[in-house]
Amino acid sequence: MGSIQLKQVQKKFGETEVIPPLDLTIEDGEFVVFVGPSGCGKSTLLRLIAGLEETTSGTIEIDGGDATAVPPSKRGLAMVFQSYALYPHMSVRKNIAFPLRMAKMSQTEQNERIEAAASALNLTDYLDRRPGQLSGGQRQRVAIGRAIVREPSAFLFDEPLSNLDAALRVGMRMEISELHKKLATTMVYVTHDQVEAMTMADKIVVLQAGVIEQVGSPLELYHTPRNLFVAGFIGSPKMNLIAGSEAEKLGAHTIGVRPEHIDVSKTEGQWKGTVGVAEHLGSDTFIHIHGIEGCDPLTVRAAGDVDVKYGDTVYLTPNAALIHKFGPDGLRMS
C-alpha cells in the first residue's frame, strides 16, 4: 500500500507562492521522480507529502485517506535526506534502530530487522561505528537502512546522491533501483540530475517554478515533450531548439532536434556550419557547430569517433521524422 494523491495542493511562504495549486497522483509501487531546476520547489513538494511543511490549501491523500492534517510520524512514510541526517551521537546500529525504538518494538524483532537491513545494504561490518567514521556512500546506505527497517508505505528521497562522487553515484543509483524492484514499495525521488531521472523512474514529474510541466514515463518525455521547457530539460546533451526561418519552413515557431538525430557529412547536407569544439568520448563524439541560423552553437552527437576538428566545414541533415515542432506559445504542435 502506498498510493499518494495531491489535490489542488498549494504552498505559500508568507506572500510568495512557491507551489501554485497542483494535482498529482502517485500509484502504489511506482518509482516517481521529481526533476526540475534548482529552486523550482521539488524539496518543498516532497516535504509537503512528508508532512514537514503544512499545505496552504488543498488535500493530500495517502492510501485513499485524507492525510493533510496527519502528523508526519503517523503518515507511514520514510524520508532520506540529502545531508543523510544521521544521528551523530549514535552508532550505526542505534541509528537504524531508532525508528523501531520509537515504535516500542521488541528487542528481538528490532535485532532481526536490523540484521536484515544491514546485510541487504552491506553494512554488517560497520554496525558499531559512528556516522562520523563512515564514507559518504556508507552514510547514505545507513540513511536508507534507517528508512527501510520501518517498512514504510512509501519512501521519499531528497537528492540522496548529490553529495557523492560520480562513480559512487552510479553504483548507488543501481542499488536504489534494485531496492525498489525487491521491495516494490512506492518511492518518490527528487533530483535535478536528469540522467538519474531517466534511468530510475517509472514516471517523471518535470517541475518549473512549482508548476508541473509534464508527467510521463521517461521515454514519453523523451519522444513527445509537451513544451519547450521539457524538450530542453530532458535528454543529454540538450535538444537543439531552432527558431526563425528554418522553423517557419516547417510551419512552426520553434523546432527541436535532438543531437543524436542529426547526420554529419563533410560533403553534402541540408545545413552548412563550422565545427567549434569537438568532444571525443570514444563511443560518441559531441560536435558543437556554429553558423547555423537560429541556434548557436548547435550540438550534434555522432556515434563512434568522427574525424572532425576545429574550423572544419560540415553539412548537417536532421532526421525529418524526429523533428519536434512547437508553436509560438511554446507548446508542442501535434
Binding site: 508532512g51 514537514l52 510520524s73 535526506f81 544521528y87 551521537h89 549514535m90 531508532f98
Partner: protein, 312 residues
Amino acid sequence: MSNRKLPRLLQTPAVLLLLIWMLVPLGLTLYFSFIRYVLNSLRKPEWTTPSISNWRGFGNYEYVLNSKDFILAIQNSLFIVCSILFLTVILGILIAVLINKAFAGRGIVRVLLISPFFVMPAVNAVLWINMILDPVLGLQGLGVQGLNGLIASLQSAPGVGWFFSLWPQFEPISFRASQTSAYAVIIMVTWQWTPFAVLIFMTSLQSEDEQCKEAAILDGAGAWSQFRFLTLPHLGRPIAIVVMIQAIFHLSLYAEIEIVSRGNGNKNLPYLIGEFANNNIGAASATGIFAVILANIVAIFLLRMVGKTLME
C-alpha cells in the same frame, strides 16, 4: 637553522613566561607548606622569615588535617560547588531550550537573561543577602510577613476561617545562620552563573542540525525523545565545558562567603586559607596544596561523569 627551529625559538619567551607564571607560585606554596613560617611571633621570631632551617616536614599538613574546620571546609566546598553545578546546568538547559524557539521580544529577553553575569560577585552577595533573603527587611521577610497577615485575616473570614486556623504561623528563614548560609551562597551564585550556562548552551543549540530533527520527527520521536536522544547528546560537550569552568571558579568562592556569614559554619577551602593566612603562612600553604588536589579530583571526576552519561 631548520624551518622548525625558528618558530620554536620564537615561542620560547612566551612559554617560559607562562611556566614561570605557573611554577613560581606553585613552587613557593609547596616550599612554604613544608616550613614553619608565620607573620608574627614573639616567642619564635626566627619563624617570621621563610628559611629552610625552619623545616617542618609534613607538620603543616598534619596541623591542617587535625584542625577542626578542615573536614567541614572540604565537605562544604564540595557541597556548594556540586549544588551550583547541578542547578546551573539544569536551569541553563531549560532556559536555553525555551528561548531557542522564536518568539516576539526574544532579543530583549536574551539580553536581560545575560545581565546577572555582569554583576560583581560582592555586589551580588550584598544585594541578595540584604535585599532579598533578609528575614526582616528583604523580599523574603516581607513576603512571609504578608503571607502571615493574609492568613490571619482569612482566619476570621466566615466559612473558610476554620480551615485557615489550622495553618501555622510561617517563620522567615535567616540565611546568615550557620545551618543555612551555604544555601544562601548557592542561591546567589546559581542566579549569577545560570546566564553563563544559558549563553553556552544557546550557541550550541543553534548549531544543532535541523534535518536530524526532521528525520527524528518522521521516525516517530516526540518532543521528549528528540530532546533526550538528540539535543542532550548534542549538548554533551558544552555541558562538560560549563561544568569544568564553573568547578574551577566556584572552588575558589570567597566574597559571597565572607559577606553572607563571615565563614560562620560555612567555610570552604579558600576561606580556610584566608583565615590561616592571617598569621600562619605555612598552614595556609598546606591548605592551598590540598585545594589544588581537590580541584583536580573534582575536575577529573565530573568530566568522567558527564562524558559517560551523555555521550553513551
